[in-house]
């Protein structure tokens, strides 16, 4: 079997989309649309589609594994992931049950990405204290690793349940596991923790010059030596719109990406995005907005500069019209990914 050196994915939070006439879709329509988009992505040979988990009006996906199960039935090869599963406000046992179910239904195409996410509404919703985020994550990621071993669980948690000789079902087939990675922002500690657990890291680079994150990449490599762990493929996740008309792509971005960033900003204390900053993000920063060639050049440049093997493009940010979402996916699969592979020197297949 050849192992791919590069992996290209699509990420979405299930942003409520708009029909081509501009009227908003319902949440239900958006969910069905996202399943269609996964089908399209699979046909185009895109490696992965990953879904976020949110509990608010702008996004349709609160239960990603259910959507991924539906996708499993209409796709053949594409990996079905989350980006991210907020493990801190979830029960690792239930997460395991959902993913091992998905493992069965998708023939092992599932992937989980653990992280904090952009919003924090899952904490009050599920009755967890947000201020315990770190402690919850620390304990639950350890529990998750224990669950993946597939043996009967003996667990004496402080913030989680106590389990004695408990097997969690459905069990994974012998020798198989749930591919797990960790999403990080700018917290050095998160990178170190991921290395400690020997999990691949995906860095969310959603603003500023991507190479600003180079010190974090260096930290990842240094940490693997520090803890004597193998190097795992590093990835990045960023927003993009890929249309044949550059100007159109930029205006779609200004309308929808801005709206989305301003919403996150309310939670994170960021000021609303200015046009000047938006244009900077397209020219030099973290937005992959423009024609297939522009976007491919930018992805290749940043993957090279940062030693990345995985790139996840967040599509449909802020909703967007159906044809804009689908054009982005089509351009990404048909033109951008092959071109990036070419620019990186070969398609990475051994």
């Amino acid at each position: 079997m050849t192992e791919k050196k590069y992996q290209f994915g699509l990420d979405t939070f299930g942003d409520i989309g708009f029909k081509n006439d501009g009227t908003p879709m319902t949440g239900a329509e958006t969910l069905r649309q996202v399943v269609k988009e996964a089908h399209l992505a699979d046909e185009l040979g895109i490696d992965l589609i990953a879904l976020g988990e949110h509990h608010r009006s702008e996004f349709a996906i609160s239960s990603p594994e259910i959507v991924l199960s539906a996708m499993a039935q209409v796709t053949k090869n594409i990996k079905l992931g989350t980006a991210v599963t907020v493990l801190s406000s979830d029960d690792p046992v239930r997460v395991f049950e959902r993913f091992s179910t998905l493992h069965a239904l998708s023939n092992g195409r599932e992937e989980i990405m653990l992280g904090r996410g952009s919003f924090t509404e899952s904490f009050p919703l599920y009755g967890y204290d947000l201020e315990k985020y770190d402690d919850l994550f620390e304990e639950k990621i350890a529990m998750w690793q224990a669950l993946l071993e597939g043996k009967p669980m003996n667990w004496n948690g402080k913030l989680t349940q106590k389990l004695t000789d408990t097997t969690v079902y459905p069990q994974l087939p012998e020798g198989e596991t749930i591919a797990t990675s960790v999403a990080v922002g700018g917290t050095p500690e998160s990178i170190i923790r991921a290395v400690y657990y020997d999990l691949p890291v995906v860095i969310a680079i959603i603003g500023g010059e991507p190479t600003r994150f180079r010190p974090y990449v260096d930290l990842y490599h240094k940490a693997t030596k520090q803890f004597d762990k193998p190097e795992r493929p590093l990835g990045m996740h960023a927003h993009g719109i890929i249309l044949d008309d550059e100007k159109e792509a930029i205006e779609v971005g200004w309308k929808y990406i801005k709206a989305e960033m301003d919403r996150i900003g309310i939670d994170r204390g960021w000021a609303p995005m200015t046009r000047d900053r938006f244009e900077f993000e397209i020219d030099k920063g973290s937005y992959y907005v423009g024609t297939p060639e522009t976007v491919a050049q930018k992805i290749a440049k940043n993957m090279k500069a940062m030693d990345m093997q995985r790139f996840d493009l967040v599509y449909g940010t802020g909703g967007q019209l159906l044809h804009q979402r689908e054009d982005t996916i089509r351009n990404y699969g048909e033109k951008v990914i092959p071109r990036v592979k070419e620019l990186l020197g070969g398609d990475g297949n051994d």
């Binding site: 201020e131 010059e209 930290l219």
Partner: protein, 228 residues
């Protein structure tokens, strides 16, 4: 002015970013957290090479200017005796995600940096470096080498203002004095000034219209008047 030694207490997102900016600006930077020096040193050597990693106590002892980059909820860990006589730039904010949904440290009548100053009763506290996100500290500095971003500060100690302004300038920002420490309330999360990485004139415009904002209105309701 001889370059003051900067000591950063807290080596997380903000602390490590400030260390990197400081080193880029060729300032002498010390940093410490509750981590053991051996556990923190290799991290800092990677993220902000050139910075000297020490214990928090050593940082406090050796630095002339101390930047607090720890969660506000941990301010009582700071020893007022060890910090006596030092200039302290308080960058900490009450952050619901970290400090909890119920704030019993500060409120609209007593801003968080006043609480810190009261605790560090023999230190010279200024509120500074708190209103810009750590990403923007780097992005905006790189992006506008021509027009510096305003970094607002507040302090009760006029005698430290030249040093505070020197440090803010050395880090690459345009210092903007708001007034005595109580004016720091205007920089706290929730305020329209919080999160801003804009030039001085735009920042000043936002200060001038602050009482038109819901946050400004809340200040008037809670304090019975504008900050005076």
């Amino acid at each position: 002015m001889t370059e003051p030694t900067i000591g950063i207490v807290g080596a997380g997102k903000l602390g490590s970013t400030l260390a990197r900016l400081g080193i880029q600006a060729q300032l002498p930077i010390l940093i410490g957290s509750r981590h053991k020096v051996e556990d923190l040193k290799w991290v800092i050597d990677t993220l902000a090479p050139g910075t000297i990693t020490l214990t928090t106590d050593e940082v406090i002892e050796r630095a002339d200017v101390i930047i607090l980059a720890i969660p506000l909820g941990h301010y009582l860990d700071l020893d007022p005796v060890k910090l006596a006589g030092k200039i302290v730039l308080d960058a900490s904010n009450y952050w619901v995600e970290v400090d909890g949904t119920h704030n019993n440290i500060s409120d609209f009548k007593r801003s968080s940096s006043e609480v810190v100053q009261d605790h560090l009763n023999n230190s010279l506290v200024a509120k500074a470096f708190n209103h810009m996100g750590y990403h923007d500290l780097e992005i905006e500095v790189d992006r506008h080498p021509d027009v510096r971003r305003a970094m607002a500060y507040a302090t009760d100690h006029d005698e430290i203002r030249p040093t505070v302004e020197h440090v803010i300038t050395a880090f690459g920002f345009d210092p903007l004095f708001l007034g005595p420490l109580r004016y720091g309330l205007l920089l706290e999360p929730g305020s329209p000034l919080f999160g801003e990485a804009i030039p001085r004139d735009e920042f000043q415009d936002k200060i001038n219209t602050i009482y038109d904002s819901p946050y400004g209105q809340k200040i008037i309701t809670e304090r019975g008047e504008k900050i005076k």
